[in-house]
Amino acid sequence: MTLPPSLERVLTGVSKPGRYTGGEWNSVSKSWDSTRVKVALAYPDSYEVGMSNLGMGILYELLNDQAGVLAERVYAPWVDMERALREAGLPLCSLETRHPLRCFDLLGFSLQYELNYTNVLTMLDLAGIPLQANQRDESWPVILAGGSCTYNPEPMADFVDLFVVGEGEEVLPELVRLYDRMRSAPGYSRTGFLRAAAAIGGVYVPSLYRVSYCGDGTVAAIDPLEPGVPARVDKRIVPVLPPAPSRPVVPFLEVVHDRVAVEIMRGCSRGCRFCQAGMVYRPVRERPVEQVLDAVERQLAHTGHEEVSLVSLSSTDYTLIRPLLTALLDQHAGKRVSVSLPSLRTDAFSVELAQLLQRTRKSGLTFAPEAGSERLRAVINKGVTADDLLATAEAAFRSGWQRIKLYFMIGLPTETDDDVLAIAGLVREVQALGRRVLGGRARLNVSVSTFIPKPHTPFQWAAMCPPGQVAARQAMLQRELHLRGVDLSWSDEATSRLEGALSRGDRRLGAVIQRAWELGARFDAWAEWFRPELWASAFAQAGLDPQFYTRRERAREEVLPWSHLSAGLSAGFLWEEYSRARLGEAGDNCRESCAGCGVRETFDLSACPVTLGADGRAE
C-alpha cells in the first residue's frame, strides 16, 4: 500500500515510523464507501503496548466479521510524532484506510490504565475533535470508552459520550446496530442516540446523570436526569465465553507481547481483596479444552507466531490445566512452538507445570506472595504461606531455574514496619535457599509496588499509605535487601499517588486532567515522560487536593463516585470483606465455598464459578 507523500515526509523524521504505517498481516481494510458503520478502536498508549492488548484484538475481529461494519485501529502517537503531525498540520488517522478519526461514526477508546488519560485528549485533539462531550454536535463521532477503568470512569466523564461497563463482546455490536438503525432514520440526533443507548445493559451515559456534592467535597448524590435512565448501571458479562479470535493482527514491530494469546479462563476464584481484576471480572468462566486447542491451532496457522501464551488471572487454577497442557504439547510436538503460562500460583504444582512447558529455563519464574507476613496476607486474603513460597522456590531452583521473580506490595491497609521487615525476611530465606541449591548463580528479582485502593474492591474505602511512610518503607527494604544476587525494584511514588487519585476520583477531576494535558502532560505511564509537577499545578488550578482522593479513609455511608455503577458485587459483601480484613480474617476462595459476593444473583447464574468437570463439560 502506498503512503500519502504528506505522511511519508512526516515519517522520515520520527522514531519507529512503523508504528504509524499499518499494513500488518491480518489487518482488515474494508471498503470505506460501501460500509455503513465505521468504528475506530483507539488505544491511548504506544503502538507496542496497545497491540498487546487482548481486548482490542477481540473487538477488532468481532466487528470486522460483521457485514456493514468496519473497525480500524489507532494508537497514541509518540511525543515526536505528535509534534510532527502538528507541524505538518496533519490529522490523526486510522492505520487501515488512513481516514481521519473525525470521519468515523464511533470512536471507542480502550481505557486500561488511568495514566493513559491524557493521551485520550491528545488523540481527540489531533483528530480535531472537541475535547468536551458537550461541545460536540451531530457532526462529530460518538466517543465511547470501555476497559477496566470504566468501573470508575468519572474523571473522564467530561470527554466521553458513553462508557461500556464490563465485557464488550455483546454490548458493542448492540450499540453498532442501534446506531445503524437510528442514524438512517429521519430526525437522528446525537442526544437521541445516547438516550436510547443508555437503555442497553452495561451502557453508562454520563451526561444523563447529575452529580451533586456536599460542603466537604464528597459526593452527595448521583441522580439520573431523565426518566428511563437507570439509577444504577450493572456491568455486562458474556455468560459463556465467545470463541477466541482466529486472525490476530501480526505486528511488524516488536511489541510488548509478541505472540499468540488465548484466554483460557475469565475471572478469578481467589478473592484477593486488593485485586480489582479479581473482583470485577467475576464470575469465573473456563473455556473448554477443545476450544482452547482449536483457537491456538487457528491462531498459529494464521499468524506464523512460534509462541503461545495461555492467558488468565490465575492459570494454575484452570481445572483441566494439566490435560490442556499435555494436549497442547502433543498437538505441537516437533513444531518449534513454545507455550507460556503467566500468573502461576505459588505452589509445587505450578513449578511442575512450568517444567512441562519450558525446555530451557531462561525466562525465570514469577510468584506473587504480595505481603511479607502471614498476618498481612490474611488481611489481603492472599492464601500463600511462607512454607508454600519456600517449597515452591526450592522446587524451581532444583528444576534448574536460576532466576525467580517475587512480587510484593507495600502500603497495604493495617501494614506496619514489621510486615515490611517480613518481606525482607522472606526474601533472605529464598536467597539463602537459592545459594544452597545453586550457589552464586541463583538470582532473585524482587519487585515492590505501592498498593493503590481500587473501586469495587473491599479496600475501596481505605486510605492510601502516607507518602512519607511509603518512602521510609522503600528505604527500609533497600537497606535490608542489599544482598548478593538480589535485585530490588519499586514503583515510583508520584506515579502511584496520581493513579490513586485518578482511580478513585470524581467528575471534578476532568478539569485536572484537561489542565495537566494543556500544561503538557503526555504518556504519564512512562517514567521518561511523567512530570508530576504539571499535575500538581493542574490540581491546584482546579482548586482540588489530590490527598482528598488518596489519603482519606472513607466512611461506609459516603456516596462513592462510582456508586451508580456496579460490578455485580453487593456493597454488603465488599464492606463485610473490608471488616474481616481489618480483623485479620482471611476470606474465601470461590472454588471451595461461595462468599456470596452477589454476582450469582446479579446475573442469575445457575452455577458459579463456571468450571469444567473431569469430562471436560461445564460442571
Partner: protein, 221 residues
Amino acid sequence: MTSHEVQRLRIVFAKRGSLVYISHLDLMRAWERALRRAGLPVAHTQGFNPRPRLLFAAALALGCSGRAEQLDLYLEQRIDLRSAASALLAQLPAGLDISSITEMDLTLPNLPAQVVAAEYRVTVEPAIQPAEFQQRIAALLGSTTLPRRRERPDGVRSYDLRPLVQELRFAGQEHGLQVLSTRLQADGQATGRPDELMAELGMARQVRSIERVRIVLKEEA
C-alpha cells in the same frame, strides 16, 4: 551448526510501500512468520534458541525501499520451486513482492559474503539547477578524500567516503523531482550509505526517496 540442509533457494524481492518504514530486524521477523504460515520446511540453527536459516544479502536502512533485495533460504526437505512460490505468495504482507526464486548450489559461499556493492536511485526536491547539481557531483568525484564523521550508538566514527563511491551521476528529472544514481561499495570492509552521500552533496534535506535498485554480488561484478 544447523539442522540438515538439502536445498538452498535464492529469493529476490522488493520491499516498498509501508514496509519501507520497518527495520531490518522487523523485516527478518516478517519473513520468518510468512515462511511459517506458508508451512515451508525451513532448516533451523541448532542450540537453545533455534532460528530459521535465512540469510539476507545486506540490511536495508529504515526509510529506504528495495527493488531487488535478496535472501537465501535453506530447507530441510526438498520442495518444488513452483509450489514454494505459490505457498509463499499467499502469505506475504503487502509491500513484499517476490520477483524470482532460484535454486542455488548449497556449497557456494554464503550470500552476505558475496556482496560487493549496491546501486541506489535517489530522488530529491529540485532546490538547485541541474547544472549546479552536476557540478557538485563532478566536484565530489574529483576529490581524493571525503572525510566524514558518523554518529553511531557506540560513538563517533571517522571514515573516508570517497573510495566508497564507485559511480555517481545525475539521472535527469522525473515527476518534478531530480534523480541521482549511484553505486556504493558494500562488502565486508565498508558500506557506503546513500544518506551520507546526499549530506556530502549538501542535499540531505531535499531527499524524497532512496531506493536500492540492485545488490551487486561478486560473481556479477
